[in-house]
Symmetry: C2
Subunit: 418 residues, 2 copies
């Protein structure tokens, strides 16, 4: 039993061990059809396979012409050009050649005929029957969109690490790129543990298990593919059977609850019984969330505590960094949201040698000041209403137990949460 | 033919007409299972159906006790309490009553036995066999989490307009709310038009249609459900057949291309031929994007221009505001992203009576200044590479054609784009 007690590791150390051991060996690249790659992260720089436009094209509906034929045109010497043909967008216009002293009508976006090098827009020229009348010379390239003027062949159009959005799909396809290397999203199974839990809305004798909805949402918003499982009772045999089965089918196994050192906490001991782990993390130096533990074989089993804020802390500091790393994102799920001044003294004397995470709300200042004030939300670690009221979190470094009024703090958002 | 020419309407007027005529009559609320409501917008305030916790519960593993039995305990007068029973989380602990002078063991989170009103944590008390020894009185409510202390029955937990995320699913389910009223997401069909287009990656004689990937992504990111269609050739009969069919099956019909006044532009005339519209908008006073037009029957047909930046402008100023309104979001898809100082003079003399939209990039300042500088990206309206390079957009009001260096501008992001 003594073996299961906590050896709290610094969060940064735990993260670094997990990323270097599990992250590096599990990171995978897959080739996806561009059209299915929305939200994936590029694993390589991508270069265009062609010039865009692929050829010189007309910028307006107009008459394709050879600039050199127009040199002598002037108001005093109007030149007549026969409209040899009207080309449609669907024609292969490069099959056509302009006869000397003639023009070919082309619509906007149409490739220029073989020997054309300028466009006379329809509205800027007088037409008489099958002829247009030019009263000035037309410069080479006039109203022509040059081949490669948008994107050049072999130009890097997207960098490794880009999150693929709609505009990227468009430009990649335009560039002749139909497959892209992306980081494979880890498949993460979420397994709540506890005999008192049910996932059946109509089972009133048990407690409805709901943490997994939040954790799964955060997994999806941070680059993973989440699969929720029905709660597993506090039975060592059932737990080890389900965990072993999950190790076959998923990349990351997440348990919620049953990870502490109580009589009914079997997750840690059962996980370690499977085989010799490559890495063990038994508790992390963060409050809430200190019970968070990891056992790593080829794949990691990440054990989250059961009280919601602790579950969330373990998710933010241990689970999401690994998922994000595998998906090709920067590991931290935190982003700086705003900077605020502390309104009333913040005292966090408990767990002083630990990193602390606390939920913060923004206080609207009375006097239209530009400064934002922040305040600690009052809550207990089992409260979930705080998740509806918070504007973000602050983290308090080890060994600090008080933050004075008017000190300036950065409030962080969590991707997918707030 | 004259009828199809443009009567450019101010963007704000066009938006307002469309929202009041189409938006108000088409807005629908549906009742969804909470578990399927991620990303939907709440149509009503939601009140909790129960107290959370539903009963007084133990904050620690410990002994449930009656405070009044402990009054006389002191170091000089240690009191012995028999451990009458050990309750599990899965037991209905309110079935049990504590015999006078005894205690009942309960785990963390367990409902208190019928007449208990305090918890003595396991680690804070001496145990001798089946007895615990108390050397001080225990206050009423000690280590008890009070019924309703997290959320009270009938308390508003979520406001109308909230975008439902993982934490909301959790708290709604915890509160006994399994169904929620949300705004129905409009079903939007995206129909590219042009005989030169194909959606077949292997059809090299035609141009691959790719705008629809970007527009569909923006629709999805702004509260709609998008359905992409194969390109329709420039054939009036095919266009009207497809549009009429789409009017049966979708809430909003979006066409891309074929909406101008050229010989092959049939969308406007065919749409108006279907029946008498409730609203017609033939062009909007924005550049790029001025060709954007709308014909509204019960449902709107929104015609976007074909050059990508014009397509995007019509999407931002006309299509997305309607979708967002129907989905319950604030109509504008723009959000202030940062404020920057203009680096070099911005001249936009063309289309002076129009609102103008331009793509902007942020310039990294040389000297670690905190100020951000911005610059106009150089591009043509058919360029799509600008979508990869821009950090945001600026809008320039009517009748302004120059912005001086060092003027301060707000750069906007577009939800789903950048």
């Amino acid at each position: 039993m003594a073996l299961s007690y906590f050896k709290y590791e610094r969060v940064e150390d735990a993260q670094q061990k997990l990323l270097s051991l599990a992250g590096e060996s599990m990171k995978r690249v897959e080739i996806l059809d561009v059209r299915n790659a929305i939200g994936y992260i590029l694993a390589e720089d991508i270069r265009s396979e062609r010039d865009i436009p692929q050829n010189d094209i007309a910028h307006f509906d107009g008459y394709a012409i050879r600039s050199e034929d127009t040199k002598l045109a002037s108001p005093k010497n109007p030149l007549r050009f026969k409209i040899a043909k009207e080309i449609k967008l669907t024609d292969r216009s490069s099959d056509y050649e302009i006869p000397c002293g003639e023009v070919i009508y082309v619509p906007t976006g149409c490739e220029l005929p073989k020997n054309a090098n300028a466009i006379v827009p329809v509205e800027s020229v007088k037409r008489e029957g099958d002829y247009i009348i030019l009263t000035r010379p037309i410069a080479k390239g006039f109203h022509v969109i040059r081949k490669g003027s948008d994107i050049k062949k072999n130009e890097v159009i997207l960098r490794k690490g880009a999150v693929i959005q709609g505009q990227h799909i468009k430009v990649l396809l335009d560039s002749g790129i139909f497959k892209v290397p992306v980081y494979k999203k880890p498949r993460v199974v979420v397994m709540p543990i506890g005999s008192e839990l049910t996932n059946n809305l109509n089972e009133h004798r048990k407690k409805l298990e709901t943490h997994s909805y939040l954790i799964s949402h955060l997994i999806e918003k941070n680059g993973g593919i989440a699969m929720r499982k029905a709660p597993i009772p506090d039975d060592p045999n059932l737990i080890s059977r389900e965990v072993e089965e999950a190790l076959e089918n998923y990349d990351i196994i997440v348990t919620i609850g049953g990870a502490s050192v109580g009589k009914m906490d079997f997750t840690w001991s059962e996980a370690r019984r499977i085989k010799k782990p490559r890495l063990e993390i038994r508790g992390i130096k963060v409050h809430p969330g200190r019970v968070t533990s990891v056992v790593l074989f080829e794949k990691p089993i990440i054990m989250l505590p059961g009280l919601i804020q602790s579950t969330l802390s373990g998710t933010i500091f241990i689970l999401l960094p690994l998922i994000r790393f595998l998906a090709g994102l920067p590991p931290s799920p935190l982003y700086p949201k705003f900077v605020g001044k502390v309104k009333s003294v913040i005292k966090i004397p408990e767990f002083k040698p630990f990193k602390r995470m606390r939920f913060i709300r923004r206080i609207e200042s009375m006097d239209n000041e530009k400064e934002k004030f922040i305040d600690l939300l009052r809550y207990e670690s089992f409260h979930s209403s705080v998740l509806l009221k918070a504007d973000g979190i602050i983290t308090i470094p080890e060994n600090i137990d008080e933050i004075s009024p008017n000190e300036t703090l950065t409030v962080y958002g969590v991707y997918g949460l707030f």
